[in-house]
Symmetry: C2
Subunit: 238 residues, 2 copies
């Protein structure tokens, strides 16, 4: 009835924790990285851009985002949520063509991030230290990063970045890597206790002779990882 009026693209900001390149950091310290794709055509020839592309006719929005992650990394993300639709009239940088991008953000687990083999024109870049990207992609990444850092304070997003069981210290390191700052250990422990959602496994970390730290799991009943409204089978709002 109405003619198509824009090109609809789906792009994805894919966060992974990988070894930091901060000078002087602890040997096992990590930072947030995202894979970006080098553009090989104008506009923004040779600039880095978010992975994604035009919405395939046969795919729902979320499936298109998941497919992008699989194309870039070779596996499905642990967490995938719609972030925002970006559609300013002049954002595409090409005269005559209007592109509206529906952006998802994804979290990728440690083991998966290590396994990923990026293609020739794809590279991991530090999420909080990016060069000038194509289009409005710096603003998009900044917003995704803000959303991740905000949500990790109240939702069990760290589940995506950590393997169970884990110690409180290991969990704190994940939060520190996501937030990009140190957290006070005693405060962190207190806030975790207040929030609930962890199960004491009754076991302790092996190989630590004196007062070995306890190992925990996430409580599935308290803390189902929440991927936003209408996210799929669960379809519970975020």
């Amino acid at each position: 009835m109405v003619a198509p009026n824009a090109t609809l693209a789906v792009s994805t900001v894919i966060f992974a924790l990988r070894p930091t390149d901060d000078p002087g950091a602890e040997s096992r310290a990590r930072s947030l990285w995202i894979p970006l794709v080098r553009r090989l055509r104008n506009p923004f020839d040779n600039f880095w851009a978010l992975p994604g592309g035009p919405l395939p006719a046969e795919l729902d929005l979320r499936d298109a985002a998941a497919k992008t992650v699989e194309a870039v990394l070779g596996f499905a993300p642990r967490y995938l949520e719609q972030l925002y639709a970006f559609g300013d009239v002049d954002r595409s940088g090409t005269s005559g063509e209007r592109v509206v991008s529906i952006v998802y953000w994804a979290l990728v687990g440690d083991a998966e991030a290590r396994r990923a083999r990026l293609g020739q024109n794809v590279r991991w870049l530090r999420a909080d230290r990016l060069p000038t990207l194509a289009f409005d992609h710096n603003a998009i990444v900044d917003y995704a990063l803000w959303r991740l850092r905000n949500k990790v304070e109240y939702a069990p997003l760290a589940q995506a970045f950590i393997d169970e069981p884990f110690t409180i210290t290991q969990l704190r390191k994940v939060h520190e890597a996501v937030l990009g700052r140190r957290l006070d250990p005693a405060n962190f422990r207190r806030q975790l206790a207040a929030a609930g959602g962890l199960v004491d496994t009754g076991e302790h970390l092996a190989g630590t002779p004196h007062r070995p730290p306890r190992l925990y799991r996430f409580d599935p009943a308290a803390h189902r990882i929440d991927q936003g409204p209408l996210a799929g089978p669960g379809r519970s709002p975020s």
Copy 2:
């Protein structure tokens, strides 16, 4: 470079507080209502639907949503935020045409809601008691309602529904109308005090001889009303 691959629509869920039609309610009790538009063609001929339409070529997404509110009610909303993009392959109900809808939600003040003169095929319906709507619009309204009720617990959304100065009781009535349930007055007062963000005007409600209640304003420094990421001039994330 890439052909348009979908029709992009922008629709808006417009919430207003209007006198309730609950049987036996207090005379000044209110409920949440939204204006809906009766469809005059297939698919879903004669069903109620959210106001909106195809994205105009010259408008940013947010401006398209604001324009819809003005077209339906005759004025701009006090609050406007992007809700979600709905784009399942089969949601449009018409063979061959794919429609992706970017949905905004809006809040309308009391005085404005009273002033609104709806067009012939537009009607206020109770947001929490809707008939079967066109397309997937029931799911969209349900999600918008969930988002409003969730956000009113931590953000000063009530600003959109109340004129300053106000009493704590008046503010509680707004929250009750939004949430659709009674709140304990002492608890409500305690939570407000803990959250901060109100300024005591030093004045009292006129016309109340004994212990006249205090009048408050929102503290603009503590509580700028927040309309989501990239929302316009302020552009602070929600």
